[in-house]
């Protein structure tokens, strides 16, 4: 009893709890040991010491770390650090250049390619990269079965090499033979002019056959729509690239570290982190707060402010096309004169100035100027509202007409950073010649794409494309290779020309045909090419240079840092 007549509080209880907590913490800390190395976090990049950890914001987790089963930009960004293909790109361009293959020679018929491989290259697991490894990779793709063949899984092999071992009649690929340690011969069953260029895609990067076997890279379960990744694709990607995979904290970040046995030159980065930030505003804020060193697809509205604040904006050479699609299933739009009027009514320069990032080029056809077959000799439809009104009157719409204008919301694409602004801009321009746009906004995925590509219920619309590699068919063939609900455009003559061009094995011989096709398209106006927007990246002041690439072939080993 205490003096005030109350029982004494059991303060022993408190003591017991704290003691046991303390003991518990001690026991645990005995098991837990810091795994920190004494790296000090700096790397001697020649003259100046720089912080060797580099953090880049990704907009999502990669879909898969096995690039053969990926097709999205974030997967490819990571795989370009870990893997290398036989073919790379010339820095700053989309043109193929030697990478793991030092040289190659095509047979005259374009059906056989002899690759001479770089020697002394090792995969991250220590196994040799050689001709046998090359053939193992090609044979792996060719032997894809079941859901591995699905468009949502093995997209690029499926769409470029068409057939598999179980459907050889469609296959472009035939066989691969390791003629010596560093010589491989690949035979194609059909000519494929884009073959060498396509090998620069991460989907065709060289992966360690030993690691793929050990971690069962081909063991993909689930369904085509919801594949369950293999252990290899989540935790053991093994390539020859400058960075090795360390860890993937799903939803948080991916960590890579420098591959000490890399055959190429060592860069300044030892630890490379891709941090997942799905909100574009959060990415900008993280850059401003110093949490990240850079991010991709800067909103045009942010570039000026970021530049003023001392951040570095780096624009890629445009390898994109933004167009105003026209659906000819709509009565008014089936009239060529109306489509020409729309073309004349749009002031592309004003549109670019007001809504698209710096570095954007005006488009007069559906391929960027660096792609084979681009020609000045097309109908350019320079801005001329009077002519547009005349054409409308000739077509029987002297007072104009009203049309559905579809655009996506809440999305930012490399070719279309702010669809809402682009819509507002173009609809105002169309209103000036008497065409009233009836706004039809939809959520990007799946609503918008479904509506545009899946049925006839749309009018004029905004869409575009980013090229995967330097191939004309990868642009015009995708849009106008056959009749699609998007345009309801039907011109067998043009379709045939595109099929013919695709089948020509030699690039130079394709050129005149593609120039002709581009001219035809400009006269038929199945859609209006608007611009080749330049996607840009933002970095903090410690980044001196970043290897911008029109096809995103950017290896972080080439980044130059100043501190």
């Amino acid at each position: 009893m205490t003096p005030n007549g109350l029982p004494k509080r059991p303060s022993r209880r408190f003591a017991a709890i704290t003691t046991s907590l303390a003991i518990g913490a001690l026991v645990l800390s005995g098991c837990a040991e810091s795994q920190r190395g004494d790296d000090g976090g700096t790397a001697g990049g020649g003259d100046a010491e720089v912080n060797s950890t580099f953090i880049f914001a990704a907009s999502s987790d990669p879909a898969s770390l096995d690039p053969a089963f990926a097709s999205d930009g974030e997967s490819f960004r990571v795989s370009r650090q870990i893997f290398e293909g036989l073919v790379g790109t010339e820095p700053g361009t989309a043109d193929p250049a030697p990478l793991l293959a030092e040289s190659w020679e095509a047979s005259e018929d374009g059906l056989s390619y002899d690759f001479t491989l770089k020697e002394g290259v090792k995969f991250h697991d220590g196994t040799d990269f050689n001709a046998e490894a090359v053939c193992a990779n090609f044979d792996r793709w060719y032997n894809f079965k079941g859901i591995q063949q699905a468009e949502s899984v093995g997209y690029y092999y499926n769409s470029l090499f068409k057939g598999y071992a179980d459907s050889p009649e469609n296959a472009v690929y035939e066989s691969c033979e390791a003629t010596s340690g560093n010589q491989a011969t690949i035979k194609l069953a059909k000519p494929f002019a884009g073959f060498i260029a396509s090998l620069s895609l991460p989907a065709f990067a060289m992966q360690s056959p030993a690691a793929m076997e050990e971690f069962e890279a081909d063991k993909i379960e689930g369904t085509a729509e919801a594949p369950v990744l293999s252990e290899y694709a989540t935790a053991h990607p093994t390539g020859t690239g400058p960075f090795k995979f360390d860890s993937w904290d799903n939803g948080q970040q991916i960590e890579l570290s420098y591959n000490e046995d890399y055959w190429g030159e060592k860069g300044q980065i030892d630890r490379l982190i891709f941090r997942v930030l799905d909100d574009p505003v959060a990415r900008r804020q993280a850059l401003e707060a110093g949490t990240i060193d850079g991010y991709d697809l800067v909103a045009p509205a942010d570039t000026q402010a970021l530049e003023d604040a001392g951040y570095k904006i780096m624009a890629r050479e445009p390898f994109t096309i933004l167009y105003l699609g026209i659906n000819q299933a709509v009565e008014e739009l089936a009239d060529l004169k109306v489509r020409q009027a729309i073309s004349y009514a749009i002031d592309k320069d004003a549109l670019i100035r007001q809504t698209l990032p710096e570095g954007t080029e005006k488009a007069i056809q559906f391929i960027p100027p660096v792609v084979n077959g681009w020609t000045e000799d097309v109908e350019a439809y320079d801005f001329d509202p009077e002519k547009a009104k005349e054409l409308l009157a000739e077509a029987g719409y002297p007072d104009g007409f009203t049309v559905d204008f579809n655009y996506p919301t809440g999305v930012s694409r490399p070719y279309m950073p702010t669809p809402e602004q682009i819509f507002t801009n173009i609809s105002a321009q169309l209103a000036d010649v008497g065409i009233t746009a009836n706004p039809q906004p939809d959520k990007w995925s799946p609503d918008y794409l479904d509506r545009i590509q899946g049925g006839a219920n749309h009018g004029i619309h905004l869409l575009g494309w980013t090229g995967d590699y330097n191939d004309t068919d990868n642009f015009v063939g995708v849009f106008f290779g056959g009749t699609k609900p998007e345009f309801a455009f039907d011109n067998q003559e043009l379709f045939d020309k595109l099929t013919e061009a695709r089948g020509i094995a030699v690039l130079e011989e394709q050129t005149p045909l593609y120039e002709e096709i581009n001219r035809d398209v400009s006269e038929l106006v199945p859609a209006v090419p608007l611009a080749h927007p330049a996607p840009s990246l933002a970095f903090n002041e410690r980044v001196d240079s970043f290897p911008t690439s029109p096809v995103n072939d950017e290896v972080f080993n080439d980044i130059k840092l100043n501190k």
């Binding site: 005030n4 109350l6 645990l28 810091s34 729509e225 369950v228 948080q252 960590e255 804020q285 707060a289």
Partner: protein, 334 residues
């Protein structure tokens, strides 16, 4: 006491069973069926058939439910459609993050809420009272996501005192043992990592803790006001007990009963608040993952996570009931 706990645990079984039936029926009744929900309206009949086959949607409902329950009981919650990883694994890797966040939010709400409520009650009608009431009103009125944005903009961007996102600065090469980052930092004695992880919790913790804070202030205030004038308090005063003793033993302890109930209920709500807070701060917990699952109709994740959350919610409220016994001896006797 043990009997009470046992009874309550037994009650959990029908609760969770009922929930599992609801969830099961919900998925089977998605517009167009689960396969169409998964594939979109454009799905080809072959794709729908393939999905139905793969997930067993073409079997009789009772059989489907038995398979589903059988899997649940063996801990097989299926695989996330979005990430292709097991739901249980996705939950387990993210749950520590949400526990950390919720703990900070709760410490903030209780640590500030009870003193503030008591202070308001003791100064009822004066400016201190008005101030507390206004503050709690503000806390209830302001939407969590908006508060999160404002906190982030002011204290992470304009004034760079706190980090903007995530759980840990990636520049700190931290070792993770338990996935409770603050604890990890302490255990491995990487003090910078522990401090950094804590700093990452401050703003989201405040954003998440504001609504419970406001409610705790109000309940504490009302409850203290009621107890303050109770007979036994007057008697204690008359006996000449010291003011701190009266406050701690007589007023606060008795006033804590409704507050404890409120805290228990708030804990469950914190998880729904975490969906918004974790999204704004790109905090990799179950809330953010749940949001992604909703957007992507990742129904195995939704099913699994809802069951886990319900289980946790029930257990927390059981704990709250048990804690009555410690606060109020009368409950123990009953």
């Amino acid at each position: 006491m043990l009997q009470v706990i046992g009874k309550r645990l037994a009650l959990l079984v029908p609760t969770l069973l009922g929930l599992s039936v609801l969830l099961f029926l919900w998925v089977r009744n998605l517009p167009g069926g689960p396969a169409t929900a998964l594939l979109g309206d454009k799905a080809t009949p072959e794709a729908v058939a393939r999905i139905n086959e793969a997930y067993g949607f073409n079997k009789p409902v009772i059989e489907q439910y038995m398979t589903y329950m059988g899997k649940l009981l063996t801990g097989d919650f299926g695989v996330s459609l979005r990430t292709g990883r097991p739901v249980l694994e996705e939950f387990a890797t993210r749950f520590p993050a949400t526990i950390e966040l919720t703990a900070v939010a709760l410490v903030f709400a209780i640590g500030l809420g009870i003193p503030l409520g008591y202070w308001a009650a003791r100064n009822v009608g004066k400016w201190q009272d008005h101030f507390s009431v206004l503050l709690s009103l503000f806390g209830i009125v302001i939407p969590v996501f908006f508060l999160a944005f404002i906190l982030k903009w002011v204290f992470a961007i304009q004034l760079p005192w706190f980090p903007t996102d995530g759980r840990q600065n990636p520049r700190i090469d931290a070792t993770h043992v338990t996935d409770f980052y603050v604890l990890d930092g302490i255990l491995t004695q990487e003090w910078d990592a522990a401090w950094d992880a804590f700093m990452h919790l401050v703003l989201p913790g405040i954003a998440l803790g504001t609504i419970p804070l406001a409610i705790i202030v109000r309940i504490t205030r009302a409850s203290v006001l009621e107890v303050m004038n109770a007979d036994y308090v007057r008697t204690a005063r008359a006996k000449g007990l010291t003011a701190p003793l009266i406050r701690n033993r007589f007023i606060l302890r008795n006033a804590m009963l409704p507050v404890t109930t409120t805290i228990g209920l708030q804990l469950g709500l914190l998880i729904s608040g975490a969906v918004l807070t974790e999204t704004v701060f790109a905090f990799n917990g179950i809330g953010r993952f749940l949001r992604d699952a909703i957007f992507n109709l990742d129904y195995p994740v939704l099913q699994g996570f809802i069951i886990f959350i319900a289980l946790i919610y029930s257990l927390i409220n059981l704990l709250v009931d048990v804690s009555y016994g410690f606060i109020d001896p009368r409950v123990r006797v009953q």
